[in-house]
């Protein structure tokens, strides 16, 4: 592997590569994210944004209490989010735990949802605390069951200790397991990385190691996908594109619960990375409750009156 010619796989080359990164102006990032969050999106633009956001949702259920019934229910919802309105697009993907991948894939195929991919969280999600052998098996298992996207977590302990090469090698290994069968999303758990500098560093490390997507969080730790963190990651993919001509996707996850939050994310994408990123191939939103709010806002725009959660499915 040549890692875009940026790294040769040795620890020294990785250090040299990451050393070239500029630091993140924390105050500036916060201020810019806050400024972009004030933008008002109305009428036809809002309508477009809602449909685009629906198509970007990775509809997620990651609970210990997940059942086959629940996974099948969200699969049904993923294909046709509003049963009364066929003009609502399908969501970007279904995101489930490893053992539910086969259930989800089978049910999606059954109900005409072949176009909806199944993403599996992998590598001892959410903590990432397992041996590399277990992580490889975990990933292989999900791919065999029909997952076409793998959401792996990095070893935050190793990252914070400075063992960056271990983090890098782990991503490379999982990348090899995915091969051309599955997209790889790398989760940083930005709430545990402490600084924006670390987020930028992790982004470049993961991108060089072969990530197709970089993802903010597991959804199990707060704060998760805050606007400034997403901004920092979007700047990273933009800069990486300039270096390598390769577009890497971004997936904020956790804490995006309503339409307003989702539209703020779209504004960030447009203004920071650019319009090329404004589609479900390069931007996804990991969420569960968000979809209902998007549907309710859509109903409001169609009917002219405020909708009630009673009229959308619970999950």
């Amino acid at each position: 592997m040549n890692f875009y010619g940026l790294v040769d796989g040795s620890e020294a080359s990785l250090k040299n590569y990451l050393k070239t990164l500029s630091g993140v102006d924390q105050v500036g990032a916060n201020a810019r994210a806050a400024m972009l969050s004030t933008r008002s999106i109305k009428t036809s633009s809002k309508r477009w944004a809602i449909d685009t956001a629906i198509s970007m949702v990775d509809l997620t259920t990651l609970e210990g209490a997940d059942t086959v019934g629940k996974v099948e229910a969200i699969c049904t919802k993923a294909v046709r989010p509003d049963p009364t309105d066929s003009s609502v697009p399908s969501v970007g993907a279904i995101c489930v735990y490893n053992d539910m991948v086969a259930v989800a894939r089978k049910h999606l195929d059954l109900i005409g949802g072949k176009h909806v991919p199944v993403a599996a969280v992998s590598t001892a999600f959410p903590s990432g605390r397992a041996s590399i052998e277990v992580k490889v098996l975990d990933t292989q298992d999900a791919i065999d069951a029909g997952a076409s996207e793998i959401d792996m977590v990095i070893d935050r302990g190793a990252f914070l200790e400075g063992r960056l090469i271990d983090v890098f090698n782990e991503i490379v290994t999982i990348r090899q397991v995915c091969g051309d069968k599955a997209h790889l999303k790398v989760i940083f758990e930005t709430g545990e990385l402490v600084t924006y500098d670390n987020v930028r560093k992790a982004s470049f490390l993961a991108m060089a190691a072969g990530a197709d997507f970089i993802k903010t969080s597991t959804g199990k730790v707060a704060p998760a996908a805050t606007a400034p963190v997403v901004l920092v990651m979007l700047e990273a993919v933009r800069d990486f594109y300039e270096m390598t001509q390769k577009r890497i996707g971004v997936k904020p996850a956790g804490g995006i619960r309503n339409t307003k939050d989702a539209i703020k994310q779209l504004v960030l994408v447009k203004e920071v990375a650019g319009e090329e990123w404004l589609n479900s191939k390069l931007f996804r939103i990991g969420a569960s409750a968000l979809l209902n709010d998007l549907l309710m806002q859509r109903m409001k725009m169609d009917n002219g009156y405020y909708a009630s959660p009673t009229y959308v499915s619970v999950d």
């Binding site: 002219g304 009156y305 405020y306 909708a307 009630s308 959660p309 009673t310 009229y311």
Partner: protein, 280 residues
């Protein structure tokens, strides 16, 4: 020494237990009965209403499950808190409506008594409107009144405080949560009453108070799918048909009342019937 400069009070909305300004940033002038400028009040927008509905819906689960005894206690507590601030309310009512001190005081005292009156009803209403129904089979069959959910109320222009309390207290007694649009011309006592609510152990979101224009807010209340019923006692006649048509779309129960009556409580309850087998 120069005269001290008065600290002006900012009148805001009361949504989810907090006092935000209107999302729209709009205000309107509140004047005395003689047309002298008093203060600015928030001109609530339909988005403020939407926020209030979300808060009221979230609060409903807890409030409706609280014991009737507990709800009565909290209503009584509101009366206690209101009584302690009687003087302030008399002032505000006199300023906005121009009535005499005697009349204003009478209104405030009556408002306190009304709260206590409805507080007393909270643990009695189910005994009176519930029933043990005879059925032809080995079953017990009970009917119990339950709260409907989120209720929107339009308080009358006058009396501004008493009318507001008449449109709130009976609604929450049975476990509903409420969004009330206060008197447009005399909103001061309503917003000060919100301060009373904030210190009365009332869970956030159970009562939400908006100030603004009835023709702007009432139709949105009526068409909102997540509001279950409306008290339009304070709605001007010319808006009634518009509101009723909008409310019919979502089968909203829409009522109007006069005076203090237990009907104001029962109108916002639904009867639940329970079948239970009689043991062998």
């Amino acid at each position: 020494m120069s005269d001290r400069i008065d600290v002006k009070k900012t009148y805001k909305l009361f949504i989810n237990g907090a006092f935000p300004r209107s999302e729209s940033g709009r205000t309107y002038e509140v004047k005395t009965s003689k047309g002298v400028f008093l203060t600015n009040a928030c001109l609530a927008s339909r988005k403020d209403l939407r926020e209030a509905v979300v808060a009221a819906r979230a609060a409903h689960n807890g409030w409706s499950k609280a014991t009737a005894y507990n709800r009565g206690q909290i209503l009584y507590r509101i009366a206690e808190m209101l009584q302690a601030r009687t003087g302030e309310f008399i002032q505000e009512i006199m300023m906005t409506t121009g009535v005499t001190k005697v009349k204003a005081e009478k209104e405030v005292l009556q408002a306190i008594d009304t709260l206590v009156w409805y507080a007393g009803w909270s643990d009695k209403i189910s005994s009176l409107t519930g029933a043990n129904n005879p059925v032809a089979g080995p079953f017990y069959n009970f009917t119990v009144p339950e709260s409907m959910g989120v209720v929107a109320a339009i308080a009358p222009e006058n009396p501004s405080l008493l009318g507001l309390i008449e449109s709130i207290a009976p609604v929450i007694t049975s476990g509903n949560t409420v969004i009330v649009l206060a008197s447009t011309k005399a909103p001061l006592s309503a917003m000060s009453f919100a301060e009373v609510l904030a210190t009365s152990d009332l869970p956030a979101g159970v009562i939400n108070v908006l100030t603004g224009k009835k023709d702007e807010i009432a139709p949105w209340m009526a068409s909102h799918m997540d509001i279950d019923a409306m008290d339009i006692s304070g709605l001007p006649g010319k808006l009634t048909s518009e509101v009723k048509v909008a409310g019919a779309e979502n089968l909203k129960r829409i009522h109007s009342f006069k005076g203090t009556t237990p009907t104001r409580i029962t109108a916002f309850t639904e009867s639940k019937t329970i079948w239970h087998t009689i043991g062998v």
